[in-house]
């Protein structure tokens, strides 16, 4: 064992140039893998974040349309007690109607939020524009930024609201306390936001009632399992739950496409590393056949001779992986430091995941050792007599 390792080491050292070239080859493979992997994972996180990062990922509702969920505080408490994948949870009400000031009328979406928890999903407070304040009493509202222009409004203006729901109050007077830039045209031109009580009051419903309970998850890809678990532990037949996956099938397909292409790239990198190493080692077996013949004549067993080449593969893989990681990390560093947008954030979002990097290294190491398998078998089959005779 030790002898095979020492011979492998000596063989590699005696052909330094060749050794360095193979190590560089493996290193480039590993660094490409680390870089592409981090890039694709970063792109995915970025895509998930921009698409569903500011919306509900699981939404509870009454399974009959236009009916409300009763006693929502209990439901939220139940979910908080039993589910581990919940990042934030909040009751919300969504309705629609017309907002009027002077002669102007505008169809809008009216949303009632419990701001303390809703901010974690919708980040409304971060999106307030100058001089706006969060509503802190009833009948105060925030408006999407575009409504400011269409209705020609300013802070502290009074507006009137008529809900489409026949059982709702009519001509409710509301005070504008601010404007929100949701960064989405649709929301900026239609959303009116108040606190939950105001909405409940307009709709004439109980303060224990809500239309939806919205959640964001720690692991968004576990949404379906979390939904099933929520429904099971709630055990309320009139409540239904919808996940982001059902609402964003295109996104999911896109993410899966990326994952598959990432996997393909990695597989091809591994294949080229394996082919490279095994072909070079196969040549080495030929180059060293004289030495193998001598060692066998002196009594090294066939498996001992094979081990020499397995060790060569292992040593090459080890140094290749280490160099590859260093190279890959410097590549990531260069990219995230120098390829930045005007505000200093990286052009390409990178997700540097140490366990992924370690896995890439491990794969390279295993692949290199396995790549040495066929040369190793070849060397074990090499006959002494051929070598001795042919001088």
């Amino acid at each position: 064992m030790k002898l095979a390792f020492n011979i492998a080491k000596r063989f590699l050292l005696s052909a330094k140039k060749q050794t360095i070239v193979i190590i560089l080859g493996i290193a480039v493979g590993v660094s490409v893998q680390v870089f592409i992997g981090s890039l694709i994972s970063g792109l995915q996180k970025d895509l998930v974040d921009t698409t569903i990062g500011s919306q509900s990922q699981i939404t509870l509702a009454n399974d009959e349309s236009n009916q409300y969920i009763d006693d929502y505080t209990n439901i939220i408490a139940n979910i908080n007690d039993n589910q581990s994948n919940i990042k934030s949870i909040t009751p919300t009400i969504t309705t629609s109607g017309q907002l009027s000031i002077n002669e102007d009328n505008e169809n809008i979406v009216f949303r009632g939020f419990e701001f303390s928890s809703a901010n974690e999903i919708y980040k409304i407070e971060e999106k307030l524009v100058e001089n706006s304040t969060m509503p802190n009493s009833s009948n105060e509202i925030l408006l999407g930024l575009n409504l400011k222009e269409t209705l020609d409004l300013k802070i502290n203006d009074k507006v009137y609201y008529n809900d489409n729901n026949p059982s709702a109050k009519s001509n409710v007077e509301l005070t504008v306390v601010g404007f929100v830039d949701f960064k989405v045209l649709d929301l900026n031109s239609s959303w009116v936001v108040s606190n939950l009580e105001t909405t409940q009051d307009i709709l004439n419903i109980q303060t224990t009632e809500t239309l939806n309970v919205e959640m964001q998850l720690k692991d968004v890809f576990e949404a379906a399992n979390t939904r099933d678990s929520i429904l099971l532990t709630l055990n309320q037949s009139n409540i239904e739950a919808v996940t982001w996956i059902e609402k964003n099938e295109d996104l999911l397909a896109g993410l899966e496409g990326q994952s598959i292409s990432s996997l393909m790239i990695q597989i091809f990198v591994i294949i080229s590393v394996v082919l490279g190493i095994s072909s070079v080692l196969a040549i080495t077996v030929l180059q060293k056949s004289k030495q193998l013949g001598i060692l066998k004549a002196m009594g090294i067993k066939d498996c001992g001779a094979s081990k020499i080449f397995l060790f060569e593969g292992f040593i090459l893989g080890l140094f290749g992986a280490i160099m590859g990681i260093l190279l890959g990390i410097s590549l990531l560093f260069v990219f995230s430091t120098f390829a930045t947008t005007s505000d200093g954030s990286p052009v390409v979002p990178l997700d540097i995941n140490p366990s992924f990097i370690a896995l890439s290294a491990l794969i390279a190491l295993t692949a290199s050792t396995l790549a040495a398998l066929s040369p190793a078998i070849k060397s074990s089959k090499l006959s002494v007599i051929e070598v001795i005779r042919n001088g």
Partner: protein, 230 residues
């Protein structure tokens, strides 16, 4: 038991399953005594190397038995043969065959390292002693590649002796040495034979050298032609 090696009815046919098989050895029967100093001579192509390789278990006979110290080694597995070669046989090949990546002393120690994971001081001392006997103590740390042909041959002799084998097989060990060096190498082998109780079988085409051995076996067309013992 006074015999180290017995060959019984050895045939060697190359290319048995081909159109034109070639019988390199036919019906060889030989007995070698312990501590004997033997030579094999014969024309080129007479089967000398074939015979020596069969004795050294590097090749197997088509027919017949090779009996070493009363053990029929033709029944050994490949691994058992490897261990046997390591412990009992020392090889000196015609073309030196050192490991060029290793130094002289590392080459000498190699057969020992193959069967022992630890190298102790005793064996290192022995390696130095052997290098001194062949007159290369000064060159022990030189890479084999950087030694002259004659020096390499002498390292190979030291290497063949490190595991104190029962028998040393040498195929034209002085094949490409000048006559002075050839003389020196033979005197060395002879000395080791006397002092270490090691048997030698040496192939040579140099009759002058063969004359100095205890027994001359001459092969002709794969058969024992003459067998003269002094």
């Amino acid at each position: 038991m006074d015999n180290i090696l017995e060959l019984k009815n050895i045939d060697k046919i190359y290319g048995v399953n081909t159109k034109n098989p070639y019988q390199a050895l036919s019906n060889i029967n030989l007995i070698f005594k312990k501590n004997s100093f033997n030579s094999i001579i014969g024309q080129s192509g007479s089967g000398k190397s074939t015979l020596l390789n069969i004795i050294g278990t590097l090749d197997s006979p088509t027919k017949g038995e090779v009996i070493f110290n009363n053990q029929d080694i033709s029944k050994y597995t490949k691994d058992e043969l490897a261990i046997f070669r390591n412990k009992s046989i020392g090889f000196i090949f015609q073309f030196h065959y050192l490991l060029p990546e290793f130094s002289a002393i590392e080459n000498v120690l190699m057969p020992y390292k193959i069967s022992n994971s630890k190298v102790n001081q005793d064996i290192i001392n022995r390696a130095h002693e052997l290098l001194e006997i062949v007159g290369l103590e000064k060159y022990k740390n030189q890479l084999a590649n950087n030694l002259s042909g004659g020096q390499q041959q002498r390292v190979a002799i030291a290497r063949s002796l490190i595991n104190s084998p029962n028998i040393v097989l040498a195929d034209e060990p002085t094949g490409n040495l000048d006559s002075d060096s050839t003389e020196a190498v033979y005197n060395l082998l002879r000395e080791i034979n006397k002092n270490n109780n090691t048997s030698f079988i040496i192939i040579t085409h140099d009759r002058k050298i063969a004359e100095k051995t205890d027994r001359i076996i001459e092969l002709k067309d794969g058969e024992v032609y003459t067998d003269i013992e002094k």
